[in-house]
Symmetry: C2
């Protein structure tokens, strides 16, 4: 079933996304679009990152959820700027929503803008929000077949974080298989196994962020 | 942002869904729409159910996935009829897809038709596929806040299976909190904690299926 209006929506979103990208570029802000299934650990990753890198970078978060501002409250507790977007049932964030959220964020001196998308492996991957990079988060409890079954998100992402590695002894998840499937979709993707709960493996993610911020500043 | 065409799509889907419901009613087939996040265990639940109840019921499965026929192959291995729908990027099944799939299924004498929807807590809940009941599956690794954050699916479901209870000792999941949030959305929902991997708690789910089949036959 082909629905022509979808293309029009995507084209309209691309225009707004380019305006967002221009704003982020002019201010030298690294913009990251963080996507995963519900409950894979996006907010936990942000809580760790915002806390651990608070002395190095000025960071802000745009939180996307259908309902509630639970996640915005969690990240705001780290001291970072946080804005909640409630999509009221909508399955993804889009450029218009992020543009509106920017009105509530002080962009001066900001190093990193995290956009935590709605928990969904499908729809968010189709709507750019002005990001420099897409970041995919997959928890090991979801199964090693997910990159193969939901290929677009892993195809367009610069980084895949494999979260909840503390649960590896209790689940059937083949780290090599998941990595191989993902690299087959996207040979350049960086894969970082981490446990946000056990605070393990985050150093490589932080190094990647440092390099990306540095590259953005020198543009 | 309001997009009028969405209502038209939903209305068109409702018409096809009613046709599907009529087919299932005429044949006395219990139709269930099984929905969850990616990797919550829908296919594992079906593997257990199709195997354990093979002597009691004739069952078929329509599998929805963006790509691959992995899941249809897994359920077909139990001996049940299985048809794969590949949505090629689409985030949910709809009535038209299920109607097409029915052309490949022998409905005579069938007791239960399971529709395993695309792994997604948002979009599938908006598109009826002719089901008698929606069944929500939530894994405890996803967090006890998910019913509150993705309310529609839990609001419209007759049953919530809480899967992966074997992992409860290793995660921060409050069974009572999740149940209370869900009952606040939907006081009549049945909640069954299960572990498909450890084969625990499935008896209540099977009893519910037996009652639902029996009620459908006597209509």
């Amino acid at each position: 079933m082909k629905i022509p209006v979808v293309r029009n929506i995507l084209e309209a979103n691309d225009r707004i996304s380019k305006q967002l990208k221009k704003i982020f570029d002019e201010k030298g802000i690294l913009a990251l679009n963080l996507m995963s299934s519900p409950g894979a650990g996006k907010t936990s990753l942000l809580e760790r990152t915002l806390t651990d890198l608070a002395g190095e970078f000025k960071m802000a978060v745009i939180e996307g959820d259908l309902q509630t501002d639970n996640d915005a409250q969690r990240v705001a507790a780290t001291g970072a700027q946080a804005v909640q977007i409630n999509t009221e049932g909508g399955c993804h964030l889009d450029g218009t929503m992020v543009m509106q959220a920017l009105e509530n964020i002080d962009l001066e001196g900001l190093d990193i803008m995290f956009v935590e998308n709605v928990g969904n492996l499908v729809c968010p991957a189709e709507f750019s929000v002005g990001e420099d990079y897409n970041v995919a988060l997959l928890s090991v409890t979801e199964g090693d077949d997910k990159p193969e079954k939901y290929p677009l998100l892993f195809h367009i992402s610069a980084v895949m974080l494999l979260n909840k590695t503390d649960l590896l002894p209790y689940v059937d998840f083949d780290l090599d298989k998941a990595t191989a499937h993902t690299k087959a979709l996207n040979k350049d993707i960086e894969v970082f196994p981490v446990s946000c709960r056990a605070n393990e493996g985050l150093d490589k993610w932080y190094d990647w962020l440092r390099q990306a911020v540095s590259a953005k500043r020198s543009k």
